[in-house]
Symmetry: C2
Subunit: 381 residues, 2 copies
Amino acid sequence: MKNYFSSNFRLGVLGGGQLGKMLLTETQKFDIYTVILDGAADAPCAQICNEFHQGSLMDFDTVYNFGKKVDLLTIEIEHVNIESLLKLEAEGLEIYPQPSVLKTIQHKGRQKDFFVENNIPTSPHKRFATLEELKNNTLQFPFVWKSAQFGYDGTGVKIVKNENDLNQLADTDCIVENLIPFKNELAVIVARNKSGEIKTYPVVEMEFHPEANQVEYVICPARISESVALKAREVALKVAEAFEHIGLLAVELFQTENDEIIVNEVAPRTHNSGHYSIEASYTSQFEQHVRSILNLPLGDPESKVAGIMVNLVGDEGFSGNVVYENMENILKMDGVTPHIYGKKETRPFRKMGHVTIVNNNLAEARKTAEIVKNTIRVISK
Amino acid sequence: MKNYFSSNFRLGVLGGGQLGKMLLTETQKFDIYTVILDGAADAPCAQICNEFHQGSLMDFDTVYNFGKKVDLLTIEIEHVNIESLLKLEAEGLEIYPQPSVLKTIQHKGRQKDFFVENNIPTSPHKRFATLEELKNNTLQFPFVWKSAQFGYDGTGVKIVKNENDLNQLADTDCIVENLIPFKNELAVIVARNKSGEIKTYPVVEMEFHPEANQVEYVICPARISESVALKAREVALKVAEAFEHIGLLAVELFQTENDEIIVNEVAPRTHNSGHYSIEASYTSQFEQHVRSILNLPLGDPESKVAGIMVNLVGDEGFSGNVVYENMENILKMDGVTPHIYGKKETRPFRKMGHVTIVNNNLAEARKTAEIVKNTIRVISK
């Protein structure tokens, strides 16, 4: 094993948002020197990493030069310049997840093709290079439209119900999927290290805000039968093995009305659906990411207690310097932990933080989560 | 409630060692802007706080000028210049724990007198201004000698068995205590906020390294009867109420052979005996400290799982650039979390980090803790 702890080893991270910030908690715990690249001077990681570099994650030279300054490179966001990563990798830099995996995943068309090629259950899809091409095709309404690239937190995903809805779509490289009726949206995070050790987290259940298309509650463990849970973990494991990826893979799944498990999409990194793990799991997803990319033994992904995560998104009608109203009221409740990402400006539906609610009893946690959600407000003053 | 989260509020901390570093994890989680003063440019907090100032904690002007730059001041070590804090407080700065409390506690003679005045059970003691004065007194061997000031981690504490041992004592302001035979060394952390809300953590049991006089295992919950545990929490509560302190108070206790609980000494801050709380408790001692000094509602101090803490101290015979040998072997064990404080140089018995072992079953955790202790080595290369 390399000496990562209080050593000269330099870990590079592309992206300095909230996922990077929560990763820093773990690299600080292990005293691993961490260098961050982000486009924004006021990125959540900027002040609290060992070394911060400002620059575009999509710029070849910027990413390449950053890679030359570190001993191992990882990401907290998949929208990064892949060509520079491929060159750095060819020159001997360890990069996890691997650039080839990132390249497949960052394009939803390639991602879906990969699932089909590897017999991973997923809803049928078609790829289109332009909106024009899509319109010239025979389409079965309703369907799901996804921008092939740069979609994030529900942007770039639309449900198209009729001809009229087509006019709202962006003219871009995209995929169209059958709309599959489902009982539950689930997710499983898989960790895999270079030695091939692989572990899955328990299945979580996701509930989305109906308008903003952002996750509202993430519930762990998912309230599903054990057989469905096992099937979900099995499918997620199969996806991770197919990619042979190193690092974390968050696998978003649907439980269909027939209790089939199909893959919606994957993210090659720590994920919103795993934030509950900071308080609830023996090993949080962020520590697990560090362990997996450094080829350390993986930690126990099981839970100490039930956990529910509520996203803190900017309230509608407020833009400007953020104020977390009624914070003292949620801090009064047992097992409630707010995480504030450090974005100074709120905007409607902007992800500003999250709150984790843990309890030995999941039903109790669910009750508290609802009170939390109805109490705290993310506004501006 | 003031707006502490992602706001212009500036929290000042005197001291930037490992306790400060673990506190920063919590202020980062809440995005509270945190400014640190420490004498060492390479203090564990230096690179990861929002703003770092280098300067002596014992220098009046340094501490005073630092206090003028922050909105609220706290400490992670009690050996700080009290006169400057009294002046800052008189000028309106909120300082928690209060300078008057720090003044009493940082001097072990005043601390013991305070216990006596407030009917807090403690072993009988005498105060001496010099070694000469002590030697001129009638002494009953064996007794416990403590330097009145600046003792830390067992330095400044000696068991004096005979006349000969007197020659090993420093010529300093000191106290002498009766040596009380005890069954257990226990500790209880108490949190109290400005509104007077007060909460005690479960009782922990401490085991000391026989030579280095440093804690070797901290075990939570202590393996004692419920009635003794309740008595210990009661005594700790009484101490905190007597001080009317704001912040955390770590109360070190002895369980005597008659199951009496007497106070050994107190520390007005987060404490080594509470490190287990990061992984085991609903609210860690570090988050609780932040909550208490900011007059936020206190969190739940109870545990999710049993926790054991093993200090990582420098192995004898090694000085220089630290290497944590066999780290991968302890990372393989479930529920094991190392914390590396970020000191680049190891020395014999220097506190370099700690490892927490959590498990639903305390006996299992205790077995793992022993394997951990016998596996990992803190050496230099």
